[in-house]
Structures are given as C-alpha cells and as structure tokens.
Amino acid sequence: MLEILDVCLPIASFVVYSLLTLPIFKYARKIKNANKKLLLTLVWFSIIYASAAFAVANLATKYYEQATTQPLVNVTFAENSQLIFSSTFSIDAVSIYMAVMFTIVSAIVFLYGLFHIGFSEKTSGRYYAVMLMITGCLIGTAFSGDFLTLFILWEATAAGSSFLMLYGGTKASFYATLKYLVMIVIASAFIIYGLSIIYGITGTLNFWAVKEALIALENKQILALAFIFIAAGYAIEAAIVPFHMWLPDAYTAAPASSSAFLSALVDQGSYYVLLRVLIYVLTPPKVFEWTFMLAVLSALTMVLGNLFALTERNVKRLFAYVCIADVGYNLVAITSVTPLGVMGNLYFFFIGGITTALSFMAVGILNKMGFKTLESISGIGRKMPLTSLALTLSAFSFAGVPPFAGFIAKYLVFTAAIEANMGWLAVLGVLTSVIQAAYLLRLINYMYAKEPKIEEKVKEPKKMLIPIFIFVAAIIILGIYPTIILNLIEPVIQQLPSIF
C-alpha cells in the first residue's frame, strides 16, 4: 500500500540533503589536500543519490504492486476534513517516470557541477544545495495532484532556478536573472488569476475533480478566459515563442553547469507541467478544445527558434536557441493529443534534456578555455578532440540523424502529428529540422574544417569529460535500442485510455 511517507520520501530526502550539504561542503572547502577533498565530495554525492534512488525505486515498486487495481493513487495529508485545501499528491505512471528521469539526470549534471564549479567561492556550497533543493521540488511537481500543490512546488523550482543563473556573479547574469524573475512573477500572476477562476467555477483544485466538473460545465466562455491566463503563464515558463525572451539571456549568462541543469531538468519540468495541465486536466475535446492555438504556437516556436539559432554566432547562445526549438517539437507532440504523442513527449523530455545538457557541458569546457564564438572555436576539433567529439555527436542527435537518440524522438513526434491529422505541422517540423541540421553542421564545420586560431596545446579537463561521456553513451545506446526507455513509458500509454 502506498503511504504518504513513501511519496514524501524522495522529496524530503532531497530537501534534507540539500540542507546538510551546506555544512559538509563548508568543511570540504577548508581541506587543503585536493584528493581528500575530492573523495569527500564524491562520497557525499554518492550518499545523496544512492538514497534518493532508493526512495524513488521504493515508490515505484510500491506503486506498480498496486497499479493493477488502481492506476491513480491519491495521497493526502488530511484524510477527510478540508480536502479542498489539503495538499494532494497523486501518483500515476507519468509521475513515476518523471521522478526516475529527474533523479538520473540530476545526478549526472550534479557530478559535472562538482568539477565545473568546484569550491572556488565561498558560496559554492549553497550552489549545490540549491541544485538538490530544485531536484526535490521538481519531483514534488511531478507528484502533485492538485493545482495548488503544483503551483507552489513549480514556482519554488522556478524561483530556485534564478539562484543557479545568478551564480556567475557577472553583470550579464544579473540582468538576465532580473529579466527571468520579472517574467516568472508575471507568469505566476497569470496562473494564479486563471486558477482562481477555475476554483470559482468548479469549487475544487484537485486535478480529477476539476476535470469532472469542467466536463459537466455548460457555458465554457469563462473557462476560455481561465485557459488563456493559465496557458500564457505556463507558456512563459516553458519559453514558448513569443514568451521566450528570457531564455537565451539566462542560459548564456549562467555558468555552464547551471545551463545544463536548467535545460535538462527545469525545462523538462515545465514541459511536464504543460503536459499534465493540458492533456490530463483540460483534455480536448471533452473539456476544452485548445489544440489549434497551441499548434500555431508550436509552429512559431519551431520556426523562430531555429531561425534565431541560424543567425547566432555565440556558441552557448546557439544552444539556448536549440532549447527553444526543442520546446516547439515538444509542443507538436502535446498538441497531437494521441498516445503516440504522449510517448513521443516523454521520450523527448529525457532525450532532449540530456542532449542539451551534454552540449552545454561541452560548451562549458570550451568557455573555460576562453572560446566563446563560432570563429574562436575554429579548428578546435584537432586541439580538443574529446570535447569536440561530444559536441558533434550531440549536434547530430539534435538534428535527428540516426543512430542517435534524437532521431527516434523526432520520429515519434512527427508521426504523432500525422496521426492527429496535422500534416502541415509535421511538414513544418521536418523542414525546420533541416534548418537545424544546417546550423549545427556549420558549428561542426568550424570545429573541423577551419585552421586552429591558437598555436599552443590545450589540455582537456578529463574529470569534466566523465559525465559528458556518460550522456554520449546514453544517446548512442538509446538511439540504437530505444526499447529501454520505451518500456518505462509503456505503462503510461496503457493508462491513457482512462484520460482520453
């Protein structure tokens, strides 16, 4: 039987470890011996993630023991009284899948952060603590079963992200974070307003209760208003064009490990929120027909994201625009509202996340060496073979070229669009993905075709390459044999008929 404790354990363990990290890393900073310092941090790292993995695995096994009788498990703090305002957690196959993915990706990005950020500054301990806290909040977001819990935990994630962006301490990162915070505050205001309308109509905030009340609702005009506010709010947080302006600045100004973390986890979290709210609660056409509007937005996002990237000369910013383009591809799958689309989404969340993280990590190494623009990375392929190899493979995965995992993700997404009778969106999708191939190849051309600008030898940081190559191995293995992930998604697809 799934208890409240089982659900809270993964969230709580991240929160507790986050708080414990502060004194432990403060102590680690004082150790002079570099090897000892590394050993201590690595041991602490393994303790955190081993126990978090245990907590998630425990939840997953308990859920699947029970799932045959009851796919959706609701867990609340206060059983009977005041159900409306009590935080509800509801667990189904999607939330389990997201929690597993968040934990895995977070572990590897955290490992990279340890080598990339190091202990150079007094505040570095806090940086790691925030990372862990955000992971906890994200897992909580995946588990939440009502709008209020979702709102609180998701906004906590978004607010926490600003600390990761700010860490560089540069002027650019300060302005970017400010921009992000302003956008986020506007977004949450929108969402709160939309939610209050929904609460006004239905008298509840629990997802499933809201859904049932909305199906019964006769006059849907006021619901349209609420939808516009909620959709606009979450669109800002997911950086859908035309609400994307904060993303390129923020990801470029933040340190590489933050960009990797944000793109791999927080971005995927924001897609998850969209998926949950749009498909699971506002299920079209039963509740509300929103597909066409989102289809237009996704077309805009794909086209503009890729065109901006095409004109970009700063490598890190280029990958930030790739993130925006990925938002567009994810939206294609969400708007298709088909089982295949949901499968494509969940696969894309993971693959897109690790591929962007991988490229930001590799770019982080380049940036550390002082290579920022396309011109400056000329001929880097010969100077830093491993880093450029990782970047090249991630570029091919983005472009959707087999045998890399991005191919299966794109195939699923476009097929879903065809299935949903939106052939035009699929055609637009493949055309923009050719643009994507073009600018990513230009990047590869700079790395391999041009003569190097620098004479002296460059030493690649071996430690940082470890997490990068874990992701590289993942995109190759999952490209050749995607069944590993698709088997995890399978239960989600089996539960979908109760939604549609």
């Binding site: 195939y411 065809i418 051309n445």
Partner: protein
C-alpha cells in the same frame, strides 16, 4: 547459415573500434582488415544465395527483437534484388579499402578514416537487407554521418563545403522519406514493408498519392535526379577517390533501389491503374530523360577528371529512372537492377582509376594530360574498360543492362504510346555517353605525351583496379548469375 544477415551487419559494427585501434598502430593493417571484413560478409551473403534461388518464396528472412512498442522488429530480409546489390556493394568496398592503402598513405588521421569506412558500410549494406521501414531509414541515414566526415576530412579544395552540401541535400530528402514512413505507419499500423503493402491497398488513394510523392522526392535527392542533383558534382569530385567510388557506385544506387522497393514496390500498387498512377510513371520517365541529357551534355564540356565522371553518374541515374518508369515490366526491371549492378562496378572502377591519375600526376585537368597509356598501362586499361562500359559498348558490363532496359521499353510502347518519344531520346543519349567516354579516354591516354616522368600506381591500387576490371568484363560476357538472382524477385 542461421544468422547470416545479422552477422553481415553486426560484424562491421563491432569491428569499427577494432579497426580504429589497429589503425593507430599500423594504418595498412586497418585497410586490409576492412577489406577482409567485406570479404567475410560476401561469403556470408553467398551462403544464403541457394535459399533465395531455390525456395518457393525466393526470399530469406530473419527477425529479431527490437522496438515492439513501435511495431518494429529487426527484420532482415534478402531477395534476389537486394542480395545482388548488397554483394556488389561489398565488392566495391573491398576494392575501395585496398585502394585506400596506397592512395591514402600520406594522409593524416588514417585510423579515423578506416573506422568511418567500416561504419559507412554497415549503413550501406543495411539499406539493402531490411524489410522494416524504421530500420531501413535508420541505415539510410547511418550512411550520412561517416560519409560527411570522410568527404570533409580527406577531400580536396574546400571539402567541408562539399560535404555540407551533400549532408543538407540528402538529409532534407531523407526527412521527407521519414514523413512518408510515418504516414505509412499511421495508416497501416505496420512498419513491415510487405504487410504495409497489403494494408495500403485498403487506404484511400488520395492519401496514398501524397505518401508516394513524399517518398519518391526523398529518394530522388539521393539518386541525384536533375532538379535536385546539385550536391552530386561537388561531393563526388571533391571526395577522396575510394569514397567517390562508393558514392557514385552504390550510395546513389541505394536511392534507385529505394524507389524500386518502396515507392514502386510497396506504395505504388495501391494506386496502380489510376490516372495518377500512369502520370507518376510518365513523370519518372520525363525526369529520367532530362537527367540523362543534362548529365551527358555537361560531361561533354567539363575538363575536370572527376567532374566528368560525376556528371556521367547523373546521366546514368537518368537511365535507371527511365528503366524504373517502365514498372512493372519484368525485362525492364531486371535490366534496371542489372544496370545498377553494372554501373556500380564500372563507375567505381572509373573513379578509382581517376584517383590513380590524380595521385600520380597531381593535376586534374584533362587538357593538361595526354599520352599516358604507355606510362600507366594498368590505369589506362582499367579506365578504358570502364569508360567503354559506361558508354554501353559490348562486351563490357553496362551494354547488356542498357540493352535489357530498351527491350523493356519497346515492349511497353505497344501498350502505352507515350513511351515512344522518351525511348527515342534515351537512344540518342547513349550516343552522347559514348562521346564523353571517348573524349575522356582520348584526352588522357592517347595523343602526344604531355608529361614526362610518370610512374604507374603502387601495388595495392593496381590490384584493386584489376579486380574491378576483370569483373566488368565478366559481367559483360556472363551476366547470367545476377540475371538469375534478379529475376527471382517478383513485384506485383
């Protein structure tokens, strides 16, 4: 053998890192290893030839567990057509690998080169040997990445530019193939070619029309049919010679094979007999004629050794497309597939001998060459053999297949008067191809000697050219083996 096809693909994929590490120690050994793997693969494929020839279905199928969620298993399949194309591909790879040993000798980064070559041939052979659409696309695009790096890394002039063009054009074509495959999966719920074929019969023709067009346009890009041929001259002429041989020999043939297997073999039956169906075939014929003339004319006026051959490839894909437009007449289809085989060998040989010229002379303008026949006898013989084969002169390979295509065309004229004019034009085009082939041979090998001291190519290069030269002659006088194999495959 039980797992012959799986081993055929698995062997090179596993060998890729081994080739790399052996190449680090001794580059020559890596080249030999690649050739050896290809030879083993040929042997593996020959083990299934009897079962294809003698079984009632004339097919050989292996299926393994892959992605059940997407209705895909790793289905490997061979019939007469795919088997003959796969065998010829492997023969060309043997020749290209042996040729590389001397040809690439002084270049840097040879371990990477041979590893990429091994990876390339997984995709190249895989395209011919699968009946699962997803796996087909997988292999189709798998060629792209290694080909890009081989052209870019070891090519001439501005190689990455040519490679970029190659990648973007063929990738843009491939995404349309992907759309077509996605649509087939959507309407039939199946990714197995032959089951999809039956299911497509029940789908409304309007949708089938779009699937057919989307697939064919995608394949035509790889085949370099005229309006979408722009990538070919650059890629083929700037690539290193062994890669050019593979590009012109088999990669563009893969496009033709895909049109035959998927567009015509799987999707087309659903709309055969309708107005659009015959319009589609006529369209193929028209584009075939345009390609043949365009390629031949430019080959006549080009002066760059490799560009002449590259344009002649466009012309020959014109013949193939014309042959395909005669679908489903048995003679024409047999002739077309046989032409793919013969053209692959002849064009591969022509590119290798052009590479030998460029390597020994370090010039590539044919106006600066002349009278080389005495100095480079082996290169001269192989060039002349392949050029005459390309021109369609008996007793060399391409004569017989062109002859079969024309027999097919004459057969069809009785039923469909439209073909009268294109067939006449194609006959004119063969004269043009004789003209550029003779111009090529005369300018380079005959006439007064223009360059004083030229040595004949080193051993391995001579050897690989000799293999193909012999093969061109054998295919010209005794095409029976391949004809037997190809005629077992049935369409419609």
């Amino acid at each position: 053998m039980q797992n012959a096809l799986l081993l055929t693909l698995l062997l090179p994929s596993i060998a890729t890192p081994i080739v790399y590490f052996i190449g680090k120690r001794k580059a020559k050994a890596a080249g030999l290893l690649v050739a050896l793997i290809a030879v083993i693969d040929i042997a593996l494929l020959f083990t299934i030839v009897p079962s294809v020839l003698n079984s009632t279905e004339h097919q050989y199928v292996e299926a393994y567990y892959w992605i059940p969620t997407l209705g895909s298993s790793l289905t490997l399949f061979a019939d007469g057509i795919s088997l003959s194309l796969a065998i010829i591909t492997l023969i060309l790879i043997v020749a290209a690998a042996l040729f590389s040993i001397n040809y690439m000798q002084e270049r840097k980064g040879l371990p990477e080169y041979y590893a990429l070559l091994t990876l390339l041939f997984v995709g190249l052979v895989g395209v011919f040997l699968t009946s699962n659409l997803l796996l087909f696309y997988f292999c189709w695009e798998l060629m792209l990445v290694p080909a890009y790096f081989i052209i870019g890394g070891w090519g001439y002039k501005e190689p990455y530019r040519a490679a970029f063009k190659f990648f973007i054009f063929t990738h843009a074509g491939a995404v349309f193939v992907l759309l077509g495959i996605g649509a087939i999966f959507m309407v039939t719920g199946d990714l197995n070619m032959f089951q999809a074929k039956d299911a497509l019969m029940l789908v409304e023709p309007d949708l089938v029309k779009w699937i057919l067009l989307s697939l064919t346009v995608g394949f035509a890009v790889k085949m370099a049919v005229v309006p979408v041929h722009m990538w070919l001259p650059d890629a083929h002429s700037e690539a290193p010679a062994p890669m050019s041989a593979l590009l012109s020999g088999v990669i563009i043939s893969a496009g033709a094979y895909a049109i035959l297997r998927l567009s015509l073999g799987i999707v087309f039956p659903a709309i055969m007999g309708t107005d659009f169906g015959s319009l589609f075939l006529h369209g193929l014929a028209v584009f075939g004629v345009i390609s043949a003339f365009f390629g031949s004319f430019i080959a006549l006026v080009e002066n760059d050794v490799k560009r002449i051959i590259a344009y002649s490839s466009i012309a020959h894909m014109g013949y193939v497309l014309f042959g395909l437009s005669l679908f489903p007449f048995q003679n024409a289809i047999t002739g077309t597939v046989l032409h793919l085989v013969n053209h692959a060998v002849s064009k591969g040989l022509l590119f290798l001998s052009a590479g030998a010229l460029m390597k020994q002379l370090e010039i590539r303008d044919i106006r600066e060459m002349g009278g080389l026949a005495g100095q480079m006898p082996v290169t001269a013989t192989s060039s002349a053999t392949s050029a005459l084969s390309i021109a369609g002169i008996p007793p060399f390979a391409c004569f017989f297949s062109e002859f079969l295509i024309f027999i097919g065309a004459f057969e069809i004229i009785n039923n469909d008067g439209f073909y009268l004019f294109p067939t006449a034009l194609m006959l004119v085009a063969t004269v043009l191809s004789l003209a550029y082939a003779l111009r090529y041979v005369t300018h380079i090998f005959l006439g007064p000697q223009k360059i004083a001291e030229v040595k004949e190519s080193p051993m391995a290069m001579k050897f690989s050219m000799a293999i193909l030269t012999v093969l061109v002659v054998i295919l010209g006088v005794w095409p029976t083996f391949f004809i037997q194999l190809i005629t077992t495959a049935s369409f419609v």
